[in-house]
C-alpha cells in the first residue's frame, strides 16, 4: 500500500509526476490541503449563488427544492460523466458515442422490463454486463487500431457510431417515446422539499458506483495496472502489463458505468432513441469541470452542474438552463482550463 500513499503511479514513472495522467485518476493530486481549499471555494461560491437565488425568488421553499432537485440530478450527471472521464483519462479518447450507448442501455432496460416484468433495477444485471461487452467490442473492433492516429479519426469514429446507434434504435424501436415505471415508487419530504424515491436511489447509486470505481482504481492490482498504463504505456508494457487488454477493459468499464446510469435514470425520463444527446453535452461539461480524467472530480462536477442548472431557472426565467451551465463552463475554462480538480498539464 506504500505506493498509493503518494499518488500510486509515481513510483512507476518518477520522472514526470507533474504531468502524470495517472495522477488525474485520483482525487488528490495536489495534496489534501489544496484540494480542501478548492472545495471550500467551490462550496462558498455555491452558498453565495443560493443566497442570491433566495433574494431573487423570495421563497425559501422554491430555492430549497431547486437545491435538492439540482443535487439529485447532479449525482446522475456525475455517474454518466464518470465513465466518460475514465475513458478519457486512460485512453485519451473523447467518446462521443457515450450518450448513444446510454440510450442503448435504457432500451435494454425497457425491453427486459416489458418482456419479463422484472423490477427495473434488476435489469442492472443484464444492462451492465451487456454494456461492458458492447464497450469491449467497440474498443476492439473500432478504436484499438487508432492508437497513434489523429484526434479527428477517433472523433469521427465515435460520432459516426453514435449516429449509427441512434438510428438503429429508431429503426428497431420506433420514435414513440417509451416509459419505464418504477413499481412501489414513493416520495418523502426533506424539510419541505419533495424527494422522489427513484431520484434518491439514482443519487445513492451514483455515490456507490463512484466509490466502487475509486476503490477499483486505488486498491486493486487491476487498478494499479490501469494507472500504470495511463501514466506510461510503454513503461507498463515493459514491466509486463498487457496494455491493449487494459485499454479494452477500461473502455468496457467506462461503458458499463453508462449502463448503470441508464438503468437508474430510466424510470425518471422518457426513453427515446435520441435521449443520449440530452445527456452528452452535460456530461462533457462535467468532465471538463471536474478535471478531465478525474473520477471523483466528475462526481463533484456533476453535483455542481445539477445545482447550476436548477438555479439558472430561478435567475433567468425564460432562458435555457443550459445557458447557466455554459456560462460556468466558460468561466472555468478561462480561469482553470485543467478543471476544478485537475492539475495543470
Amino acid at each position: 500500500m506504500s505506493d498509493t500513499k503518494n499518488g500510486g503511479a509515481a513510483t512507476l514513472d518518477p520522472a514526470t509526476p507533474e504531468s502524470s495522467p495517472a495522477r488525474r485518476l485520483l482525487a488528490a493530486p495536489d495534496g489534501t490541503g489544496a484540494l480542501l481549499r478548492r472545495a471550500g471555494v467551490v462550496g462558498g461560491l455555491a452558498v453565495i449563488a443560493i443566497a442570491v437565488a433566495l433574494l431573487k425568488s423570495g421563497s425559501g421553499l422554491v430555492v430549497w427544492q431547486s437545491v435538492v432537485t439540482g443535487l439529485l440530478m447532479g449525482g446522475l450527471y456525475g455517474l454518466i460523466a464518470m465513465g466518460l472521464t475514465l475513458i478519457f483519462g486512460v485512453l485519451d479518447i473523447v467518446n462521443f458515442a457515450h450518450g448513444a450507448l446510454l440510450a442503448i442501455a435504457m432500451f435494454i432496460a425497457f425491453g427486459v422490463v416489458q418482456g419479463t416484468g422484472l423490477h427495473p433495477y434488476l435489469t442492472l444485471l443484464v444492462a451492465v454486463p451487456a454494456l461492458f461487452l458492447i464497450g469491449a467490442a467497440v474498443h476492439r473492433g473500432l478504436l484499438s487500431g487508432t492508437g497513434g492516429a489523429s484526434l479527428e479519426n477517433q472523433l469521427l469514429i465515435t460520432l459516426g457510431l453514435s449516429l449509427l446507434l441512434e438510428n438503429g434504435l429508431l429503426m428497431f424501436f420506433g420514435a414513440e417515446p417509451k416509459n419505464v415505471s418504477l413499481p412501489g415508487d414513493f416520495q418523502f419530504s426533506l424539510f419541505g422539499a419533495v424527494v422522489a424515491g427513484g431520484r434518491l436511489y439514482a443519487f445513492l447509486g451514483a455515490l456507490l458506483i463512484g466509490a466502487v470505481l475509486f476503490w477499483l482504481l486505488r486498491r486493486t492490482r487491476f487498478g494499479t495496472a490501469i494507472r500504470a498504463v495511463a501514466a506510461n504505456g510503454q513503461g507498463a508494457e515493459l514491466v509486463g502489463v498487457n496494455v491493449r487488454r487494459v485499454h479494452t477493459l477500461t473502455f468496457a468499464i467506462g461503458t458499463a458505468c453508462a449502463g448503470a446510469a441508464a438503468v437508474l435514470a430510466a424510470p425518471l425520463v422518457t426513453v427515446t432513441p435520441t435521449l443520449g444527446e440530452q445527456f452528452n453535452i452535460t456530461a462533457f461539461v462535467v468532465v471538463v469541470l471536474g478535471g478531465m480524467g478525474n473520477v471523483a472530480g466528475a462526481l463533484v462536477g456533476g453535483l455542481l452542474i445539477g445545482l447550476v442548472e436548477q438555479l439558472t431557472t430561478i435567475y433567468m426565467d425564460g432562458q435555457s438552463s443550459l445557458l447557466g451551465v455554459f456560462v460556468v463552463f466558460l468561466i472555468v475554462l478561462f480561469l482553470r482550463p485543467q478543471g476544478l480538480f485537475g492539475r495543470r498539464a
Binding site: 422554491v62 432537485t69 440530478m73 473523447v94 440530452q278 430561478i314 435555457s320
Partner: protein, 416 residues
C-alpha cells in the same frame, strides 16, 4: 492534453452535425411546375416528418392524407374533370425546415396542384414561402403559429384553429367550467416550454384571461429539449397559491409535469392543458395511469360525435393497428379541402385551384363550428377548439356542450 482538445472536438462535432443536417436534394426553379398537370391523375402533395423524432405523428398524418385520397377516388374522383383520379405524392421533411423547403419545391416540380402539411410551425413557415413564390396553394393541417398568416400570403390556408384561438378558448372555457362547478377560477399559474409555441400560447392566454378578470401569475418557462425534472417549477406553482395550473408543452415534458405534480401535490382545482401535446393523447393516459386522471386539455380534436369520423378512425385502427390521432384527421380534412378546390375550379391550374379553395366549404371530420371556410387571411374561420378531459382512463370531449361526450369533472385526484 488539455481542455483545448475537447473544445476542438466539440467544434468539429458541431460542424459535422450541421453537415449531416443538410441532406435532401433541391431541384431549383419552378420550370417544371406545370409538368403533367393536365393529364393523368390530379396530384396532391403531402409533406410531413416521417423520419426523425416526430416520425410517429408524421406517419399518422401521411396515412390520413392517403385515406382521404382513397375516399375521393372511391367516390368517383374529381367530377368536374370527368372523374379524373387523385394521386398523393409525398415528401419527408425529417422535421427540418430546410429539408421541408426543398421537398416542397420537388413536389411542385412533380406537378402537385396543392400541398398539405407540415405538423411543425417552423417547417410550415419555410414551405409557405416556397408555395407563395410558385403560386401553388398550401393547406396546413397542423401548424399552430399565427405568424404565417400575418404576412398577407395569398396561397396559405390552415384547417386547425391557431394558437391564439386555442389560448382564448382555453381561458373562456376555464371561466365557464369553473363557475359551473361553483369554484370560479381566481389565479392561474402558466407553465410553458420556452420556444415560440409555448410562449405564444402563454401570452395569448394571459391576454384573454386578463380580459375575463382572471389573474395569471406566475408564468414559468422551461427548455423542452433538455428538461429532465420539473419538481422545482411545480414547487413554485404551489408556493404561488394559484388555483389552476395551465400548461403548454410537448409530450415528453407533459409527462414530466404530471410526475412532478403528483410528487409536489400543489393546491390546485384543475390542471389545464393549452395546445398541449400530451394531455389528450391516449398514450399519455397509458403512460401516467392514475396520475393523469382528470387533466383537462384545450386543443383541436377529431369530432368524437361525428359518425363519419368514427368510421374513419375504426378503419385506420383496423388497417394500421393504432388509434388515429387528430393530426391524421386534420391531414384528411386538408386533402379534402384541396380536392374541393379543384372540383370548384374545374381545372388544375393552381391559380384557379387557389380561388376554388378560398371559396370552398368542406364538412370537416375534426371539431368545427361549421364547414371549413377561409377568412381573407387564410385561416379557417369555423375551426373550434374543444375541451377534453381524461376520465376513467379515456380522453373524452367535455365542452362546449354540443360537442361534449361527458360532463367536465372540475377537481383533481390528489385533493379528493
Amino acid at each position: 492534453m488539455s481542455a483545448r482538445k475537447l473544445v476542438a472536438g466539440l467544434g468539429a462535432c458541431a460542424v459535422l452535425l450541421a453537415a449531416a443536417g443538410c441532406g435532401g436534394s433541391a431541384p431549383s426553379g419552378a420550370a417544371g411546375a406545370a409538368g403533367g398537370r393536365d393529364t393523368g391523375p390530379v396530384k396532391i402533395g403531402a409533406l410531413h416528418p416521417v423520419s426523425g423524432g416526430l416520425a410517429v405523428d408524421g406517419q399518422q398524418m401521411r396515412r390520413g392524407a392517403r385515406m382521404a385520397v382513397e375516399a375521393i377516388n372511391a367516390a368517383g374522383g374529381i367530377k368536374a374533370l370527368g372523374g379524373r383520379k387523385v394521386e398523393l405524392v409525398t415528401g419527408d421533411t425529417q422535421g427540418k425546415a430546410e429539408v421541408g423547403q426543398s421537398e416542397a419545391q420537388r413536389l411542385i416540380s412533380e406537378g402537385a396542384v396543392g400541398i398539405v402539411g407540415t405538423y411543425q410551425s417552423a417547417v410550415s413557415t419555410n414551405v409557405a414561402v416556397v408555395t407563395e413564390r410558385n403560386e401553388v396553394p398550401f393547406v396546413m393541417d397542423v401548424t399552430a403559429s399565427d405568424e404565417i398568416f400575418a404576412h398577407g400570403y395569398d396561397y396559405s390556408f390552415r384547417v386547425q384553429p391557431g394558437s391564439e384561438v386555442i389560448s382564448a378558448a382555453a381561458a373562456k372555457y376555464l371561466k365557464a367550467v369553473s363557475e359551473e362547478a361553483g369554484e370560479p377560477v381566481k389565479q392561474v399559474a402558466f407553465l410553458h416550454e420556452q420556444s415560440d409555441f409555448g410562449s405564444g400560447a402563454a401570452e395569448a392566454f394571459a391576454a384573454a384571461a386578463g380580459d375575463l378578470g382572471i389573474k395569471v401569475d406566475p408564468v414559468i418557462s422551461y427548455d423542452a429539449a433538455t428538461v429532465s425534472d420539473l419538481t422545482a417549477q411545480i414547487t413554485q406553482v404551489k408556493a404561488s397559491g394559484a388555483d389552476v395550473l395551465a400548461i403548454a408543452g410537448y409530450y415528453r415534458d407533459g409527462l414530466l409535469a404530471a410526475k412532478a405534480i403528483n410528487a409536489v401535490k400543489p393546491g390546485l382545482n384543475a390542471v389545464w392543458g393549452v395546445s398541449n401535446g400530451a394531455f389528450d393523447q391516449p398514450k399519455f393516459v397509458a403512460d401516467t395511469g392514475a396520475l393523469g386522471e382528470r387533466y383537462f386539455s384545450t386543443n383541436y380534436h377529431f369530432d368524437a360525435q361525428d359518425p363519419q369520423t368514427r368510421e374513419l378512425r375504426a378503419e385506420y385502427q383496423r388497417r394500421y393497428g393504432a388509434p388515429m390521432r387528430t393530426g391524421a384527421v386534420l391531414a384528411y380534412d386538408a386533402v379534402q379541402t384541396i380536392a374541393a378546390g379543384v372540383e370548384r375550379a374545374g381545372s388544375t391550374d393552381p391559380l384557379e385551384v387557389r380561388d376554388g379553395i378560398a371559396g370552398a366549404e368542406v364538412e370537416p371530420l375534426t371539431v368545427g363550428s361549421g364547414p371549413i371556410s377561409f377568412a381573407p387571411n387564410g385561416d379557417n374561420e369555423n375551426a373550434l377548439p374543444v375541451l377534453m378531459q381524461v376520465q376513467d382512463g379515456k380522453v373524452v370531449q367535455v365542452y362546449p356542450e354540443d360537442k361534449a361526450e361527458a360532463e367536465p369533472n372540475y377537481s383533481v385526484t390528489w385533493r379528493s
